[in-house]
């Protein structure tokens, strides 16, 4: 059995972007990526396209996206490709809304209500070539380990390949902490369950958690934010030989998200120099990872530390001008410039140890960073962006906020900074 394994397509994601044109392109990019996945399935004569959840970003697709999705399903049908779709936490199938509402063509097999389904995948002649056991999320907050509900596959010598399809957070997976622990599962159980391949979704980073049997996160098909950096795409899987599965990652995302961090800006005393610094950093990064031909780039430029241009970089208008110039210079789809932590160029160390309020501040920062002190009387209610009311979480949040603020503190005491934003 040959199939294409995708996950976390998140069609109709609400992309944030500086302009509607960019957001529009990003929405199109998700559709383009899915179209490429269908192209891949057709081109590779795949028997099935497996979607491991979160095909939709929300419970409802736009009319145009629905139409697009049904067209692509129709294309697969025309080429005799079965589409097996197990829902995830973004597109749960427990109600009549969401995926179950769509008039899918007959080649689409939906696992949407938390009930396992074993689907025979056939070739063009109607001969079974393998089985996909799929289970989808019925609700948006599925807390149960759905992998345990899947029945053990028959262990027939010389039998057809058995594939499990599931949207889950495997505890030990890379990047799991960035996702809600929905339908959590345990890798050791998956490995023992008897399937020839686990097609997983939910964690957006492509990774192979186990080689024997393959337990694979396809990763999101198209990155959605700067947290989804790197190449994104699908896994092309060939289980013709059950004992030697062939798994190839195919980059399909037309748009990639990347971050360029540039510190030590004290020498860049003009926007032109700054732009050159950023461009050089970008070129270095691309030399190591040039990406697929034709890739469009969403670039986040994070500027940090002392800079003679701190005043300009604090000004949103100037940042936008710089971003626009970098967009052209880097050939990117869009560039955003983050300069929250840029501050005037001040010799921080000179001020350490002085007997005054500034010296006291710097000492206190050191103590906080070392965990020898904590800011008292801080309440989550005082903080606009505190993640939770949990004091420990608030404390961690505060520590993150105070990370590397020495320069700004000195600048503010010296009257070099303040009231500029």
């Amino acid at each position: 059995m040959r199939f294409v394994h995708v996950a976390d397509v998140h069609l109709d994601t609400s992309f944030a972007g500086r302009s509607e044109a960019v957001r529009q392109r990003l929405r199109e990019a998700s559709r383009d990526a899915f179209r490429r996945a269908v192209d891949l399935a057709v081109r590779e004569d795949a028997h099935a396209l497996l979607v491991a959840g979160d095909l939709f970003d929300g419970d409802r697709l736009s009319f145009q996206t629905e139409r697009f999705l049904l067209e692509q399903a129709g294309r697969l049908q025309a080429h005799g490709v079965t589409l097996v779709y197990a829902t995830g936490n973004h597109d749960p199938g427990g109600t009549d809304a969401g995926p179950r509402r769509l008039p899918w063509p007959a080649n689409v097999r939906l696992a949407a209500d938390g009930t396992p389904a074993r689907i025979a995948v056939q070739d063009r002649t109607g001969t079974p070539v393998g089985y996909v056991s799929a289970i989808g999320h019925a609700t948006a907050r599925e807390r149960e380990d759905l992998s345990r509900r899947l029945p053990s596959p028959p262990r027939t010598p010389g039998g057809l390949p058995e594939v499990a399809l599931l949207h889950t957070q495997v505890h030990s997976s890379q990047g799991a902490e960035a996702h809600h622990a929905y339908a959590p599962s345990d890798l050791s159980w998956l490995v023992r369950a008897g399937y020839d391949y686990w097609a997983l979704g939910h964690v957006h980073i492509h990774q192979i958690l186990s080689q024997d049997p393959p337990v694979v996160y396809a990763g999101c098909l198209q990155g959605r934010t700067h947290t989804d950096q790197g190449a994104r795409g699908a896994a092309l899987v060939d289980l013709s030989n059950r004992s030697a599965p062939l798994i190839t990652f195919r980059e399909l995302a037309p748009v990639r998200w990347e971050t360029v961090r540039v510190g030590d800006l004290s020498e860049a005393d003009s926007l032109d120099l700054l732009e050159r610094r950023v461009s050089a950093a970008w070129r270095n990064a691309r030399e190591e990872d040039p990406g697929a031909a034709g890739t469009e780039w969403m670039v986040r430029v994070v500027l940090d530390g002392p800079s003679p241009l701190w005043r300009e970089l604090r000004a949103e208008e100037d940042r936008n001008v710089l971003a626009a110039e970098l967009t052209a210079a880097l050939g990117a789809l869009d560039v955003v410039v983050h300069a929250d932590r840029v501050h005037p160029v001040v010799p921080v160390d000179v001020h350490r140890g002085r007997v005054d309020a500034l010296g006291a501040c710097l000492s206190l920062l050191d103590e906080l960073a070392a965990g020898r002190a904590r800011l008292g009387a801080l309440d989550a209610a005082d903080l606009a962006g505190a993640p939770t009311d949990d004091p420990a979480a608030v404390d961690a949040y505060v520590r993150r906020l105070l990370d590397d603020v020495d320069g700004e503190v000195v600048a503010r005491f010296l009257g070099l900074d303040g009231g500029e934003r």
Partner: protein
């Protein structure tokens, strides 16, 4: 720092004020009524230290009215020693100078370096104290001063921690505050986001309406399709009756005709009119048979010509090339034959000339003359010797004449042999020899040889020399003659020695002279000519003989006498060959004609056979269609043919009348397959037509509806989509998240600074309070001796303690105004002390601060000021002369303002 002299050219209302060279003391009282210029003087003092502010002539309120600039100077004694003079002037821009000894620096509008540790604002607020200020230190300034005093420990490069924290909190507050007061960027974003969510609801509603519109449009299209199909069915029914039925009938008629015609494949190849075709085939068979007979009869004459070409003729023709070669060679040797004849004639002529020439000089016939000696004779030598002989002979004759004259006895000459006969014999022999050679007759050759031999013998005889004559006597003439003779004899011997082997006639020899040499040379030439011709003749004769031999051989092959004349044989062969060739040519032509006739006959025969076969075949096929009777078959075939033709014509007519015949036929087929009726009565037909009209109207309505829904779908598709709005919302959310972090960061940073500041303040504030306590004890005469600071207390941050107080009391009403003012003055003095602790002490300017105090307080206050003046200069402004006097009694100098002092 002490101000020891002030000079004001013009500053506000003050003009030409000079305190004079007497240094001002540590306490200076400026006395004058209200509006006299006391505040102006205080301002000048500040300007002297810090410069003009505002720094613009137009905006500075102390620019004098009318002409002139605001300007003045002061002499300052510094705490660390030293004296400087400061001059300030406000032209269009401020100028200033600082003189110290001989050094003068351009000060411009800069603050004096010794007051840098106290900002202008602080100096104005803390070091210049008015009555109103005393009781009305606003909170901001107080906190600022507190921060500077406690938090910064007097450092001039730092801003107060509270200011920094306040700014951060203000910046954070601009982004977000727990309360809704003021503008908050994040709340604005959220408001924007809410508006967007409203738009999203609209977009979602548009999406819902779009789906509904698409559903309705699809429904309208479905209904439209159904209505069109129904109308089409109705139209088909009408068309079936009105249009299809005639076509259907015609098609059926065509089918009938086709059935009658049957499968016309078996008529394929049959002529259109079989009976006429049969007749034509019979005629054709007959005509072909006649052609065969004609071809046969036409071959008789050519056959005779072939027969006339006999074997002999064939042999001749077979050897045609040999014969023609011979004829060619015979014709080719005709010139040789002619040349042979000519050569023979020339040889004969040469012989005759030889004979004749030889007979003149030779003693033997020419035929007997050996050829070699003559040929080898050196004629030129002979000529030379003959010349000698001729001379010798002349000499002898002369001698003889002399002797003759003496003796005169002549000597007869002996007769020679008949040279003429010898020449004739030689000529005859040559002719015979030539004739024998040409003719091949041996007798002629033999006779020629004999004649030549006889001629040669005669010629030899004639050439024999005569015997020498006997010697003469011994007379001189005789001796001369003998000598002449001897010479002649020698000359003659010389000649004879050359002619020894040539039979020269003695007579010729005797009289030998140049003529003899010429004759012999002529003979040599003739002999050479003859030899040349003989050689030519021999070659020609050999060629001719070879041709003649071939001719004889050929003649013998064809039965002719080989010994016959070669020319006659050649002519015979040529004639016979010509005849044989003619016969061969005639026979060849006859053969070709015969061949052509045979092919013609064969073709005619084939055509005849084919015609016969075709006829038989046709009859057979017709017989099949006529149940064994060809004649009946002719009728059957004709009838089927006519049916097929009519079917084809009917079909063509139908196609012409209905270009869409295929479509019609398909419709007929479908209708028949569906079992639809083909006949309708008028009422049914009318009802169906009415249905069509009704459906047309319905279709028009549905079309309009579908178009309207299309337009609606188009409009809705152009509307903003929910995902588009979601993107804008997400953008705002992202910005909000960023700003929230930014806000929290600022806010936390502010808290950090406040915390650090508080910690620092807690560490350093007590000392300030202690200083204030000492000043207060001075001012109150010991009633209150401490000021406590506690910002956490609800009843105020400051409290007083005194020896008579059990508990601290708040520094606030209901304490008397005097006490409050005393406390504040104490704090101000303490602050001043702390602000410039360890640095240049700046002057303290007090404006009527003691005026509201009772006598006792005032007195203690003046004492306290006098004490303060020990460490810093005090300027006290008042309109009360008694106050001035009282201070004067404590060492103060009184400057009366408004009096021109």
């Amino acid at each position: 720092m002490r101000v020891r002299r002030l000079r004001i050219e013009a500053f506000g209302r003050i003009r030409d004020l000079d305190t004079g060279p007497e240094p001002l003391p540590d306490v200076v009282v400026a006395l004058g009524p209200n509006e006299a210029g006391k505040s102006t003087l205080a301002r000048f003092l500040t300007t002297l230290l810090y410069g003009f502010y505002p720094a613009s002539r137009d905006r500075n309120p102390y620019t004098p009215w009318g002409e002139g600039d605001a300007q003045g100077s002061g002499v300052l004694h510094l705490d660390g020693g030293g004296c400087v003079e400061v001059e300030r002037r406000l032209r269009s821009t401020p100028t200033g100078s600082l003189r110290s000894g001989d050094t003068e620096d351009d000060l411009r509008n800069r603050t004096l370096p010794w007051v840098d540790h106290v900002p202008l604002k602080v100096f104005e607020e803390v070091f210049s104290v008015s009555l109103a200020d005393l009781a009305g230190l606003d909170a901001t300034t107080w906190e600022e001063i507190q921060d500077r005093l406690i938090g910064s420990m007097g450092a001039s490069d730092l801003r107060p921690a509270r200011t920094v924290a306040d700014e951060l909190e203000a910046e954070a507050g601009e982004l977000w505050r727990p309360s809704r007061r003021g503008n908050q960027r994040i709340r604005d974003l959220r408001a924007e986001s809410r508006a967007l969510r409203e738009r999203r609801r609209d977009a979602a509603d548009a999406d819902r309406r779009l789906r509904e519109a698409v559903r309705q449009r699809d429904e309208a299209r479905r209904l439209l399709k159904e209505a069109r199909e129904e109308r089409q069915r109705r139209k088909l029914a009408v068309a079936r009756v009105e249009r299809l039925e005639p076509v259907r009938r015609a098609l059926r008629r065509i089918d009938d005709l086709r059935r009658e015609a049957g499968d016309t494949d078996d008529l394929e190849g049959l002529p259109a009119e079989p009976d006429a075709a049969l007749r034509r085939l019979d005629d054709d068979v007959r005509a072909r048979a006649e052609a065969v007979a004609d071809a046969r009869s036409a071959g008789r004459d050519p056959q005779a010509a072939v027969d006339a070409y006999t074997d002999d003729a064939r042999r001749l023709v077979g050897r045609r090339r040999d014969i023609e070669d011979h004829l060619g060679r015979a014709a080719g040797v005709a010139p040789q034959r002619a040349r042979i004849g000519a050569l023979l004639q020339e040889l004969s002529d040469l012989d005759r000339r030889l004979e004749t020439t030889a007979a003149d000089v030779l003693a033997t016939p020419w035929s007997e003359v050996p050829a070699g000696p003559l040929h080898a004779l050196p004629v030129s030598e002979l000529r030379s010797r003959l010349r000698d002989l001729t001379r010798a002979r002349e000499d002898r004759r002369v001698a003889e004449s002399a002797l003759g004259r003496a003796t005169a006895v002549p000597v007869p000459e002996a007769p020679g042999p008949p040279r003429t006969a010898a020449a004739a014999l030689l000529a005859l022999g040559a002719i015979l020899l030539a004739a024998g050679g040409v003719s091949g007759v041996p007798a002629a050759t033999v006779a020629g040889v004999a004649a030549l031999a006889a001629g040669a013998a005669l010629l030899a005889a004639a050439a024999r020399p005569t015997a020498p004559r006997p010697a003469p006597g011994e007379t001189p003439e005789e001796r001369a003659l003998a000598e002449a003779r001897s010479t002649e004899a020698d000359a003659r011997t010389g000649v004879e020695s050359l002619l020894r082997e040539i039979p020269v006639a003695p007579a010729a020899l005797d009289e030998a002279d140049a003529a003899l040499a010429a004759s012999l040379e002529r003979l040599q030439e003739l002999v050479r000519d003859r030899q040349e011709r003989e050689r030519a003749l021999a070659g020609l004769q050999e060629d001719v003989a070879r041709v003649d031999r071939d001719g004889r051989g050929l003649a013998a092959l064809f039965g002719h006498d080989p010994d016959a004349d070669p020319g006659a044989l050649t002519d015979l062969l040529e004639r016979e060959l010509r005849r044989a060739a003619s016969l061969a040519e005639a026979a060849g032509a006859a053969e070709r004609e015969l061949d052509r006739l045979r092919r013609q006959e064969a073709r005619a025969e084939t055509a005849r056979a084919e015609a016969a076969e075709a006829r038989d075949r046709l009859r057979t096929r017709l017989a099949v269609h006529g149940d064994g009777d060809p004649e009946r078959g002719v009728d059957v075939v004709g009838r089927r043919r006519r049916a097929a033709t009519r079917a084809a014509e009917a079909r063509a007519d139908l196609e012409r009348a209905h270009p869409d015949l295929d479509d019609l036929m398909a419709r007929i087929e479908r209708a028949e397959a569906a079992g639809e009726p083909w006949t309708l009565d008028d009422e049914e037909l009318a009802r169906i037509k009415a249905d069509v009209e009704s459906l047309t109207e319905e279709i028009e309505g549905l079309v309009q509806r579908a178009e309207a829904m299309d337009a609606e779908v188009g409009r809705l598709e152009e509307r903003e989509t929910a995902d588009s709005v979601d993107g804008a919302i997400a953008t705002l959310d992202e910005e909000e998240t960023r700003l929230l972090r930014q806000r929290d960061r600022k806010w936390v940073l502010a808290q950090l600074i406040r915390t650090a500041d508080r910690r620092f303040r807690e560490q350093h504030q007590p000392d300030v309070m202690r200083r204030a306590g000492r000043h207060l004890a001075h001012l109150t005469g010991g009633r209150y001796d401490r000021i406590l600071a506690d910002e956490t207390r609800d009843d105020g941050p400051f409290h007083l303690r005194g020896p008579s107080l059990a508990d601290p009391i708040p520094l606030a009403p209901p304490l008397s105004t005097g006490t409050l003012e005393q406390a504040y003055l104490a704090l101000r003095l303490a602050i001043v002390d702390h602000l410039d602790e360890g640095q240049e002490r700046l002057p303290l300017v007090l404006d009527e601060v003691l005026v509201n105090w009772d006598e006792a307080r005032r007195s203690r206050g003046m004492d306290a000021l006098a004490a303060v003046a020990e460490t810093r200069q005090v300027f006290l402004f008042t309109c009360h002369p008694e106050m001035a006097d009282a201070m004067a009694s404590r060492g103060a100098r009184v400057l009366t303002i408004g009096s021109g002092t």
